[in-house]
Symmetry: C2
């Protein structure tokens, strides 16, 4: 029996499918009940914005289903997807008063909203929550560092391989049949802006991976990894 089962029947966290991996798991049932009651649930259709660059950052969000992207836009329109956020990830952990980037739903998305001030008071009260928050920030920092290496020194092919490997780790499935499947809810343009490339280059590298028999696209939004070995070699930059 999980601690969530101790919550009141109508408590929204009761059915949260990610709470075992999220910050919330740091709280016991009483605290969680108290913590969450003031929040709210947000549903976004694919493409809808969560907030914009410069908006007041007075809320923190937990992704419970779907995918969110964090966008940076340069004055002349160049776009960089700073990160994709998957179920269990938090949005808005930064300490700035205003958001540095805009956030937008990639696919239909549900989020849990927390008032930031309230969140911080809870972190002060429950050291376990503060500790979990720190672990998450440290983990995101480690991911960001890996991405810096990718953007600074990897080729287009290596970047795409790294991306597919990462997405597989986050939301991929290794079916009983053994097929490693990677869902790709985001568009080629989004992938390009995430990898620092153009959508044309991403498309070309997809076909290369396909003709090299490393992946097999089941559809535009779902690819199977045929050769995990070579995929890993590409992703880590082991010259072929």
């Amino acid at each position: 029996m999980t601690k969530r089962a101790l919550l009141q029947d109508d408590h929204p966290c009761r059915d949260c499918s990610v709470s075992t991996e999220s910050l919330c798991c740091a709280l016991d049932a009483d605290a969680l009940s108290d913590f969450r009651n003031q929040g709210g649930t947000i549903c976004l259709a694919a493409g809808e914005p969560l907030f914009h660059q410069g908006d007041l950052a007075d809320c923190v969000f937990s992704v419970t289903s779907g995918v969110v992207k964090l966008n940076a836009i340069l004055p002349d329109g160049r776009r960089q997807v700073v990160t994709f956020l998957f179920p269990g990830d938090f949005v808005g952990l930064e300490m700035n008063d205003r958001h540095e980037f805009s956030a937008e739903a990639v696919s239909d998305t549900r989020l849990c909203r927390f008032l930031k001030g309230r969140f911080e008071r809870f972190a002060d009260r429950y050291p376990a929550l503060a500790a979990a928050r720190y672990r998450r920030a440290a983990s995101e920092l480690a991911s960001a560092h890996q991405k810096i290496v990718m953007l600074g020194r990897k080729t287009a092919a290596e970047r795409l391989a790294s991306f597919l490997t990462d997405v597989h780790r986050r939301i991929g499935t290794a079916e009983v049949s053994g097929a490693k499947l990677v869902p790709l809810p985001m568009s080629r343009g989004d992938i390009a802006d995430y990898l620092g490339l153009t959508k044309e280059t991403v498309s070309r590298e997809f076909t290369r991976l396909r003709t090299s028999r490393i992946i097999r696209p089941r559809s535009v939004t779902l690819v199977e990894i045929l050769d995990p070995q070579r995929m890993r070699e590409l992703a880590f930059g082991i010259a072929a």
Copy 2:
């Protein structure tokens, strides 16, 4: 009278020039005294390594003077400088058991060492320390996100301008005369590996900034910013 003055005469934190900006400032004199007594001071000459990729990460370090770089090396030798660490910065805040990257002194450097386990027990005991640690991680995450934008979407000239702006913010001086000076303790090669470029390209962009009258190099390791306005426009990607 600062709280450091309350320390015993021989306490190593007493003369620490960065403690007002570092994590240590979250502790009162008694706690600081206790906290630090078990540590140690490390002195590295320029070029000396602090630790290597894969080493056991059982220590945390605070840079008190000098500059440290965090290096990623790909299997075929490609190098990426993930970040430069300046006085007040912490090294090793990540939560992995082993270091993802190697760390090396750029210039002669002094660091304060803390045993990681002990550091974490202190964070548990002193919420103010945990909070400061979180703020620092969040701030480094924000920097990493900015760097992702730089590496993903900015041109060579824009990257160098961003770099000079950042370094100026961290260790630059605006003299009474008004001259904005940026010390550059790291080599051109280090700058190149930080910006995802080659040393040749970095060198060329330096001369462009010089011939455009945006900077004036006083020496290889010290440049003056002549035109902060155009420097900012370049750094932020406002097309010229």
